[in-house]
């Protein structure tokens, strides 16, 4: 199942981006309104720098490839759209996210002698579990593992499962946080 630009926009909307301020300007500036997330190959468009630059995005995309189910395609474009849009709207949040990403990357370099994005998928998974990202409570002001769970794992899963495509993987079209209208709750199963 492909994540589309519309999914990224929906996830951003659920996160409050696009209501006003910088986020709206960011969304308005994006091109390629063909429903795809980023370029046709699913890679990111734009090279906006800020607290979350290309290096941080690489880590987040690499993490999303572990956190997202295998039947999801175009992860890079979706993550880029979401993270960039959110960073424009909430720069403080982006700075804290960049710190968490750096903590994850440092952990990978210390224990696996490579940046997180350069690890193969299985090693990334192992590193995340070794760091206890699977077990700790998310806390935006907590220890490294808690902040990685908050700003990396849960940030990415919040984006996915509050989007229609992510939720449809589970079987509902209008997930919590998505303004999907009042028709779907009345409908019976679609398949």
């Amino acid at each position: 199942m492909e994540l589309t630009r519309r999914d990224a926009v929906a996830a951003l909307a659920a996160a409050g981006v696009g209501v006003g301020g910088g986020g709206a300007a960011y969304l308005a500036s994006r091109e390629g309104d063909d429903g795809s997330a980023g370029t046709p190959d699913g890679s990111a468009t734009g090279t906006d720098e800020g607290p979350v630059g290309d290096a941080e995005l690489d880590v987040l995309v690499a993490a999303a490839e572990v956190f997202y189910p295998s039947e999801i395609d175009r992860v890079e474009g979706f993550v880029t759209e979401f993270v960039r849009g959110r960073a424009t709207d909430r720069p403080d949040h982006a700075s804290a996210q960049a710190d968490a990403v750096a903590a994850l990357d440092d952990y990978a370099r210390n224990w696996y002698e490579a940046g997180f994005a350069d690890l193969d998928s299985e090693t990334r998974d192992r590193a995340l579990r070794a760091m206890s990202v699977d077990a700790v409570d998310a806390d935006p002001a907590g220890e490294d593992d808690q902040r990685v769970r908050y700003y990396v794992r849960n940030e990415l899963l919040f984006a996915l499962y509050s989007s229609p495509t992510g939720a449809e993987l589970v079987g509902l079209e209008n997930p919590q946080g998505h303004p999907g209208g009042t028709a779907s709750y009345q409908r019976g199963p679609q398949s």
């Binding site: 909307a13 659920a14 996160a15 409050g16 209501v19 006003g20 572990v66 956190f67 997202y68 189910p69 295998s70 039947e71 998974d125 995340l128 699977d134 077990a135 409570d137 998310a138 806390d139 935006p140 908050y150 794992r153 849960n154 899963l157 919040f158 996915l160 499962y161 509050s162 939720a167 993987l169 589970v170 079987g171 509902l172 079209e173 209008n174 997930p175 919590q176 946080g177 998505h178 303004p179 999907g180 209208g181 009042t182 779907s184 709750y185 009345q186 409908r187 019976g188 199963p189």
Partner: protein, 574 residues
């Protein structure tokens, strides 16, 4: 009319805080609290030409922050109190009864009050609730009658209609158990859910009647706000504004000239030398200053906990037990509704968690909770208990049974394909019923002051002394018995139940300044004025004599509109 202007005596705006919180010159009415009661009273009185100041303890939240608040509600790192910034020294409290009362998840302090986080269900009380013949009317010691209200349904009926217009209620007149009404709801009700249609099959076989739910939620654009867009987080936050909250009437009040001062917690009400009238509301401001707002009349509208607390904090030499408390009833007879629920799974897709509100209920067991049913293919057996030993029951059919996938994902220890498999296993087949059970007023359930703990201004914090009586426990058991019968008829495997031991409150604070005609037994008159002080009024659920089992806000609104009429008349005559 022109709005009341601040005097500029201190608490003036600064570069970082542009709000001038200095008191206005003596106004006609000072309202304490900006929830539905306070904002409706303020708006109505301003429309009638009166000069009104509203003092609100909490802050004025920025509407553009609502999606961020929604994210806090969904993401597990943020506790429920964080959504509306509750907690801390300002909101300290004590829970001193047999049952813990989680006060700070039960209320919001801010412009708009607890309607910022409410569910938005708006039913009228039944005629029997007012007459003292309600189900659950007996005292704990045995059969008897609950205290009757000094007004009846007919007195409140036109105000209920006004309240439905004011709040914007979407509903259908298909409830055969509802009290009489004079016209349709302002908006059409929300259609039933797919889940409702599954319940309907079982209920029809059992002779249980389902009907629609009146929602203070726009089923179409109404009064300048959009129709519901299905964010699914009605409680605790509606980002679209389709769910009514009292900021709507705060805005209307301000348009009519009312001055609303936020972050201005009232510390006490000061009376004149004779103890006959209130002179001023003494309030604090964020700069550490204290001010006096003078007015011809005062309305305490700060909810079922803070209203009695304010009266108790306002004790004086003349009134050593607290203001307006010659009856001793201030803070007493604290009531809430109790939750009863049963849920499980069935071998069909139930399509939960698309929206955050209910579309079907059953009020069949409200006036006669002991009665059984006799359906074409089955029945709900009558209760073993005597009817007088049970309180009213309102049954609800959930549209959000089982976990929300996004919340489950964020709280899980899994990720990737394993997480998706778990989400798929959890989502889809859940089904559940909830319900509210009425609690009889009992003197020992009360809001008092805990003098051992003080808030951020040095005032004793509220102490909630709350317990369950045997009647309420029996009624909860009866509610779960009915729920279980319906779910078993569906072939559900029951996986959870909330009964008398695990029940909790519905966060409806009622009864703590009850109305009545006898000053020895009650705090306010049927009009809402305190017996003891001629210019002090109370609006809100604290004036309820009984609570029934209906969500209270429509009755709060109706009573407030009615009280505003009496106060308007009083102001004109004097």
């Amino acid at each position: 009319m022109s709005g009341s202007q601040p005097t500029g005596a201190g608490a003036q705006s600064t570069a970082t805080d542009p709000v001038d919180r200095s008191p206005s010159e003596r106004v006609d009415v000072c309202v304490v609290g900006s929830g539905p009661a306070g904002s409706l009273v303020a708006h109505r009185l301003a429309e009638r030409g009166h000069e009104v100041v509203v003092l609100e303890a909490g802050e004025r939240f920025d509407e553009s922050d609502r999606l961020e608040r929604q994210e806090r509600a969904i993401r597990p790192a943020h506790g429920p109190q964080s959504v509306w910034d509750m907690g801390g020294e300002r909101d300290a409290y004590a829970s001193t009864g047999e049952r813990h009362y989680p006060l700070n998840v039960a209320r919001v302090k801010g412009v708009g009050g607890s309607t910022l986080h409410w569910q938005g269900m708006v039913m009228r009380l039944h005629e029997s609730d007012f007459s003292g013949t309600e189900a659950g009317a007996a005292t704990e010691s045995g059969a008897g009658t609950a205290p009757a209200w000094p007004i009846d349904y007919a007195d409140l009926r036109p105000y209920y209609a006004e309240a439905e217009e004011a709040l914007g209620v979407a509903g259908d007149a298909d409830n055969p158990f509802a009290p009489p009404r004079d016209g349709p709801f302002p908006m059409a009700g929300f259609p039933p859910s797919h889940s409702d249609s599954i319940f309907a099959e079982a209920c029809e076989r059992l002779g249980v009647t389902m009907h629609s739910v009146p929602n203070a939620r726009n089923s179409e654009p109404y009064d300048g706000d959009s129709a519901c867009v299905g964010y699914g987080t009605c409680r605790p936050v509606c980002p679209s504004g389709a769910k009514y909250d009292a900021t709507r009437h705060v805005a209307k009040a301000e348009e009519a000239g009312v001055r609303v001062v936020d972050r201005a917690p009232v510390q006490r009400l000061e009376h004149d030398g004779a103890g006959e009238t209130v002179d001023a509301a003494v309030y604090a401001t964020p700069d550490g200053e204290t001010h006096r707002q003078e007015a011809r009349s005062f309305v305490a509208a700060c909810g079922g906990v803070e209203t009695p607390r304010l009266l108790l904090l306002s004790r004086s030499e003349t009134y050593p037990d607290g203001l307006a408390n010659s009856s001793g009833a201030v803070g007493r007879y604290f009531m809430d509704h109790l939750f009863a629920g049963t849920g499980g799974v069935i071998d069909r897709r139930t399509r939960q968690n698309h929206v955050g509100f209910l579309t079907s209920e059953c009020h069949q067991f409200y006036d006669d909770p002991a009665a059984g049913t006799d359906g074409p293919e089955g029945s709900v057996p009558a209760a073993d208990a005597d009817p007088s030993e049970l309180g009213p029951i309102k049954l609800e059919f959930f549209n959000y049974a089982g976990p929300s996938p996004v919340e489950q994902a964020l709280g899980s220890e899994q990720w990737g394909d394993d997480l998706l498999d778990s989400l798929r296993d959890s989502y889809g087949n859940s089904i559940a019923m909830g319900g509210l059970v009425g609690q009889s007023p009992r003197c020992e359930n009360r809001i008092g002051l805990d003098t051992s703990t003080t808030d951020d201004h040095g005032n004793p914090v509220p102490a909630v002394h709350w317990s369950l009586d045997d009647r309420t426990r029996r009624t909860i058991e009866r509610a779960t018995e009915i729920q279980e019968r319906i779910l078993r008829e569906l072939g559900a495997e029951i996986t959870w139940q909330v009964g008398p031991d695990s029940t909790g409150p519905a966060y409806h604070h009622m009864g703590t300044t009850r109305m009545g005609t006898d000053p020895q037994e009650s705090v306010v008159t049927p009009a809402g004025r305190t017996h003891d002080l001629s210019n002090l009024w109370v609006a809100g659920s604290s004036t309820f004599v009984t609570g029934g089992a209906m969500n209270p806000t429509l009755t709060i609104a109706a009573l407030s509109l009615r009280t505003a009429e009496f106060l308007d008349e009083e102001l004109r005559q004097n």
